[in-house]
Amino acid sequence: MENIIKVGMADLKASHHPAILTTLGLGSCVGIALFDRTTKVVGLAHAMLPDSTQVKNKTNAAKFVDTAIDLLVEEMLNLGAVKKKIVAKLAGGAQMFVFTQGAELMRIGHRNVEAARKKLESLNIPIISEDTGGNYGRTVELDSDSGMLLIRTIGYGIKQI
């Protein structure tokens, strides 16, 4: 039996091998998949907003890219992951609606991806692949066995990164 763990919006989960972590319908949110190939400990976060320092209410760490990555790494280390061996894959950060005005709201996807890159760089976690941007939603599945990130879309096919 496959151990499928669902990650909701503004949510994160870490797990031992064997597990498949999945999050459905990533739009402007960014999916951050972390993987330690040596211990096969995996983690997946579905973050909504780029920066916790710009918002007052931050009770849910998984909501923000920066705090979500911190917490996810911490949970993975608790499960025995080795910090130096962790690699990252990114998905999501799309711009679902094309607006001619109100640029700030609409660029949120791009800003989420930028924030994830910056945060991972500061933690020395390399991003080995990503499928971000565009104007379409993505469902992702992270396999603890191979570290493969499966990305499903409507009308833009399926890919593995």
């Binding site: 909701g8 739009g27 402007s28 918002v55 799309a94 939603g137 469902t139 409507i154």
Partner: protein
């Protein structure tokens, strides 16, 4: 008053439901006029959901839906979203175009434009009812349309809620036309209405 939906009391929920009722009543009338058909609606439901639950409300985060998003300016600011099942959208387009209901719709430019116009009229009538009720100036923008997974569409307004709290206020109204079901989901950021209304 704090902008937190987690602890709405019964009266506040009743007020929201009544606003939804008046808004969608107006919108249903407008829709009936465009389609030249009888349109029924349910009493709106007011729900406060955690983000983790949000993407499941339409029956699954991955089901394809059509989302129409308008930004709102004036005395209040925010966005309003109208979501249709993709099948319901096809039926609406076919009714508007005078085609058989089961004709295949490929969402070409004219069809998308027709849907946007429906969004325009629905949101306009919904908001003008609220505007009259609250005496606030509420101006909707031109709608933008996206066809994609429900979760991805809903994430756009959910992110706006994310800036202020950990839950989403959701006023849902269901429209029916004979055997054809059209679900209208209005996502609200119009928290300020409630504050001023009190």
């Amino acid at each position: 008053m704090s902008v937190n939906f987690d602890n709405l009391d019964k009266i506040q929920i009743d007020v929201l439901r009544e606003m939804g009722n008046i808004g969608s009543g107006n919108a249903a009338t407008a829709l009936a006029k465009i389609l030249n058909k009888r349109v029924n609606m349910d009493v709106p439901q007011v729900r406060v959901l955690q983000f983790q639950e949000v993407s499941d409300i339409l029956g699954g985060a991955e089901i394809p839906v059509v989302g129409l998003l308008l930004s709102v300016t004036g005395d209040i600011s925010g966005s309003i979203m109208f979501i249709l099942e993709d099948k319901a959208a096809c039926v609406l387009i076919n009714i508007l175009m005078g085609k058989p209901l089961d004709e295949v719709v490929n969402f070409d430019e004219i069809q998308v434009s027709a849907l946007k116009e429906i969004g325009n009229i629905l949101a306009g009538s919904y908001l003008s009812a609220l505007s009259t009720l609250t005496n606030l100036i509420i101006l909707p923008s031109v709608p933008e349309l996206a066809i994609d997974m429900a979760g991805a569409i809903i994430s756009v307004p959910a992110i706006e809620f994310g800036k202020i709290g950990d839950s989403v206020l959701f006023i849902e109204t269901e429209f029916n036309e004979g055997s054809t079901k059209v679900v209208g989901n209005f996502f609200w950021f119009l928290i300020l209405i409630l504050m001023k209304y009190y």
